[in-house]
């Protein structure tokens, strides 16, 4: 704290986010001059050690980028390598992949809603503290999360780093009777998901909007999850798509001179992926229960093109997506037909392939180049949090500025508000495979033991 109106605020260990990060805010004469989400997640070099591996290995290897969304990594890796090899999988295998992915959506979005995000709106430190006053709510959240994990356990063998996924499909496809065992549980989960949406819609939301362009995959006829074409919704309402193979020409990582962090931009503008983007771009394809939950939560009618740009309200959209994922899982189970073979062979071909899927926190892009014998010669992973960093920092700046304009928040209030602004985006810092902002740690105040 220096003279009045100027200060530097540093929160050394962000809590209730996945991975480890810090936030840094500089204020001069009541104006925010710098707002940074800093990453101190040590580099793990996935893109380097993927070189030289067999083309069958990235699904298992890249799952370990992130324990929170391993299915997303497995699915994007399969999509990219199957694209490189020119292989199309059986639609019944695609349906099973979507079901597995629904499990991860239910688990991960519910984890964020109840354990990481809701405590911000209810003024407590975490869900365990929350359980002292609102045990019923927390128990419902855990039950709902567990329903997502039940899908992952059955279809994947385990919830974290599932073993049953392979290039071309699955090692083993479940018998219809096995899937039926999930049906009753998911029917119950649908009620829990509805109650979740109703619960969070009673929270209070600060009034603010992001001006970032929204980027999500689009597949006409469905709410895109396990594939689609990148679609960008600009601030002026203009919607356009671009071919996936041009992704790295459009979404570029830049090293800005005033910062040591890497920023992704879409066509040179800051962009946001994740729930808000999907809801805006694919909302018309939500199922009726999900659409009804959205309307009841005050998000407007997604069938009529409702858009939500308030990051604080992302918790509502996540709850709507959980309702959707449960209804979708139920439908996939009801219409399940076992594929004749659980996987197709994917013989290696020299070439490059692209794959993108919707991880719970946003679009996850993979690109692989292969040799004739299937050896990976190059790999690129672009996780959602890396793309969202510019929008998150803009939110930080805007939120902090609004608080400074409205009154005289002390450091603790300002820090709490900024942490909330970051958590709105459910950043997955472990996923941030190539942030650059790592040297800052030397000068930073340390983590507490």
């Amino acid at each position: 704290m220096t003279h009045r109106g100027s200060r530097t605020l540093h929160v050394g260990s962000l809590t209730r986010v996945e991975g480890e990060g810090a936030l840094h805010l500089e204020v001069q004469d009541n104006t925010v001059t710098r707002a940074q989400l800093q990453i101190y997640e040590p580099p793990r070099f996935f893109e380097a050690f993927l070189r030289g591996r067999a083309h069958t290995e990235p699904p298992d290897i890249t799952a370990r980028v992130c324990g929170i969304c391993p299915v997303a990594y497995q699915m994007s890796a399969c999509a990219a390598i199957e694209d490189a090899c020119g292989v199309t999988v059986d639609p019944r295998v695609v349906a099973l992949r979507r079901l597995l992915y629904c499990g991860e959506w239910i688990e991960s979005q519910t984890l964020h809603i109840y354990l990481l995000h809701a405590p911000d709106f209810l003024g407590c430190d975490g869900a365990i503290e929350l359980a002292r006053t609102a045990r019923g709510h927390v128990e419902r959240g855990l039950r709902l999360k567990q329903a997502g994990n039940a899908i992952l356990d059955l279809l994947g063998g385990r919830a974290i780093h599932p073993v049953n996924v392979r290039l071309g499909g699955f090692h083993r496809a479940p018998a219809p009777a096995e899937l039926q065992t999930l049906h009753a549980r998911l029917t119950h989960a649908l009620e829990d998901a509805r109650l979740t949406a109703a619960w969070v819609s009673g929270f209070e939301f600060p009034d603010t909007e992001t001006d970032a362009d929204l980027l999500a995959l689009a597949t006409p006829g469905t709410y895109a999850i396990e594939g689609g074409t990148p679609a960008a919704l600009r601030l002026d309402g203009n919607l356009s798509t671009f071919p996936l193979h041009t992704f790295l020409d459009r979404v570029r990582e830049e090293h800005l001179p005033h910062s040591t962090a890497l920023y992704s931009t879409l066509d040179g503008r800051r962009h946001l992926t994740g729930s808000l983007a999907r809801f805006a771009i694919s909302g018309r394809w939500l199922t009726r229960p999900a659409r009804d939950a959205a309307v009841a939560a005050g998000l407007g009618d997604p069938w009529e093109g409702a858009v939500c740009r308030n990051p604080f309200r992302s918790i509502l959209v996540r709850a709507v997506e959980v309702v959707y994922a449960v209804t979708e899982a139920l439908r996939l189970i009801e219409t399940y037909e076992p594929p004749s073979r659980p996987y197709v062979e994917v013989p290696p071909v020299v070439g490059t392939g692209h794959g993108a899927t919707e991880a719970p926190r946003g679009l996850l892009y993979h690109r692989y180049a292969l040799d004739a014998d299937g050896t990976v010669t190059d790999a690129r992973l672009v996780p959602p949090t890396a793309q969202n960093q510019g929008a998150i920092e803009d939110d930080l700046r805007r939120t902090a500025q609004a608080a400074l304009d409205a009154g005289e928040p002390d450091d603790a209030e300002l820090a709490a508000l900024c942490e909330r602004a970051i958590r709105n985006h459910d950043p997955c810092i472990s996923c941030s495979t190539h942030f650059l902002d790592l040297t800052v740690e030397r000068t930073r105040s340390a983590r507490t033991v």
Binding site: T15, A48, G67, P70, D125, G126, G157, V163, L262, V449
Partner: protein, 281 residues
Amino acid sequence: MPARVGAAARWSEEAGVPTLAVFKLASCDGCQLTLLDCEDELLSLAGKVKIAHFLEATSAVLPGPYDLTLVEGSVTTPADTEHIRAIRAASRRLVTIGACATAGGIQALRNFADVEEFARTVYARPDYIDTLATSTPVSAHVAVDFELRGCPVDRRQLLEVITAHLAGRKPDIPDHSVCFECKRRGNVCVTVAHGTPCLGPVTHAGCGAICPTYGRGCYGCFGPAGRPGPTGGSLSVNLPALIPVLKSDGMDDRDVERFLHTFNSADFHEELMAARQEEQS
């Protein structure tokens, strides 16, 4: 200064309630997430311990010392070599969880490569990257009271380790191979029946033989079985005998090396080198 040990030595304020801390180094968060995946037990566990430091779950952070500390992740930066010492100093019992913390994890693949080359591959400005040439387990830096394996750890085993430590007894974590669990589960052996390469005979039990149950060969995510580590185990691994089997199931030398060089590469590597030496002599 990379880490600060909490103020005065004091146990949890709520007398008689042990404190639990969870720390992370280089990792994917999957092992600590396993704790949040214990949905049925989470709230009752929270009634028995005071969660004093668990950044992913709560903003309430208490200074050490801690009665039981779980550490996920491997040591890969100069700062973390300091951090882990401070964590050790603040912990009565320190348990490492997962392949990263017990064996260096997938990021230990750098140990067999040129880390500067790695940094250049991934980062536009490798000069900003502050990293060590190796990824090492926590036990290479400080004394560890127990190591729980797996990538990720198994939910039931994690609960057993916590419960045992709270009760002051030794965790009941058998040291045999995945093959035992496969037999117990009544699986048909994937190698015998389908010629599928499988690391089950040399891999530490704990998962319940998930992969063979799904018709897939074990890929060794729990690391070598019976490996003598800082917290016990006796070497019963028979990798030299397994390698010819893997080869007769269609793997060449490069496949075998890749198979062993994944999530526990640093541990399996030594076994692989020993096997190669045996082959040559």
